[in-house]
Symmetry: C2
Subunit: 213 residues, 2 copies
């Protein structure tokens, strides 16, 4: 594992996948060149921030010209390890879980949902979006060499499943339940809380009015 890029700010790291997708779009559209200003309008990130972000990886552009899309794309593919796919498990095949299974991550991404788990027997054995669904009892048995899990179970089950994932050797959990799960230090958890996101938006609307007109 190269540690040279250890110095990349977290805020920058979070934007990288976004950049990657839009550069990919540009490439598909046949564009061969792009400026930080254009990219800024597309991804809604300040152009200075984009230039700064890119600069952590060295001089990727040319002054007076901008960035070569092809070069940028191949660079990001390498940086984001697009060549090597990360296998992901999904726990909880409800509506939200199903949405993920239909989401074609592999197309533009380095991730692939390899297997899904649920408790409901009528779902077991079926395949959604090319992903087979197994009974949750099989979790420990079938999680070898899977290091990332998406948690879309009811919140009451979240901590219990998280404990089992940890025991099975998970490295990262994307937690969509409202519960804040507790895990050992070596496991990284990202929380995405849909109700909180909605409420936060409402709060901002009421208390941080934007420019009128």
């Amino acid at each position: 594992m190269e540690m040279e890029q250890n110095k990349i700010p977290q805020a920058t790291a979070k934007r990288l996948p976004l950049y990657y997708r839009f550069i990919n779009n540009l490439h598909t559209q046949g564009k061969s060149r792009v400026s930080s200003k254009e990219l800024s309008e597309a991804v809604k990130v300040d152009s200075a921030t984009i230039r700064r972000d890119f600069s952590y990886f060295g001089a990727l552009g040319k002054k007076g010209y901008g960035y070569n899309v092809e070069y940028l794309l191949s660079f990001f593919r390498q940086t984001l390890d697009q060549d090597e796919t990360t296998e992901v498990a999904l726990i909880g095949v409800g509506n939200l879980g199903t949405a993920f299974l239909h989401y074609n991550f592999t197309k533009n991404n380095n991730t692939k949902i390899q297997i899904a788990f649920d408790t409901q027997s009528e779902k077991i054995g079926s395949v959604i979006g090319n992903v087979p669904i197994e009974h949750i009892d099989q979790l420990e048995a079938k999680m070898s060499n899977i290091s990332v899990a998406i948690l879309t179970v009811p919140s009451s089950a979240a901590q219990g499943i998280a404990d089992r994932l940890v025991a099975a050797g998970i490295s990262g959990i994307l937690n969509f339940t409202p519960a804040r799960i507790t895990v050992p230090e070596h496991v990284r958890v990202h929380h995405i809380d849909l109700a909180v996101e909605l409420q936060a938006l409402v709060y901002f609307l009421k208390h941080y009015p934007l420019e009128e007109e």
Copy 2:
């Protein structure tokens, strides 16, 4: 609209809904008192940060004692305008949209999905999670007094729908499509990009190793 709390940092504002929910939980559990340390363990936010966040609203706690759950709850209810429900529209009743419709926001929140729209005729007229589903053609007609929309349509349709929402007088959009939509300055958009979240987690796992052991 009170503007006194204009000075609350955005980072704090984003945490308020989270605090609210956990305080609500404590109240339901019959706890009458809580310290910033306890709350910290529950919501996974540093206790000093919690005290700081609360302090923007004045002295809510008592030294040597902690915070009174009931008081905190009534305070947050007021601050987050929990008494007055915000009506929300949902556009796009796919898997993700359906997940939202089943999510009982109203229970713990000040938001209620009032109406949903889709293009597929077999869904029109049905009701999911108490929310009626209308044809997208009805959008302009039935959006009066709705100021917030959840956008869960295919990304190719995102900008077009966004334009119509803006024309219909929307104030805020929670955008779950990978597309970054363009709107006038007075409309607030929060982007939640599931693929980006997953990729970001993977990137962090590879490049920012956590403490081993």
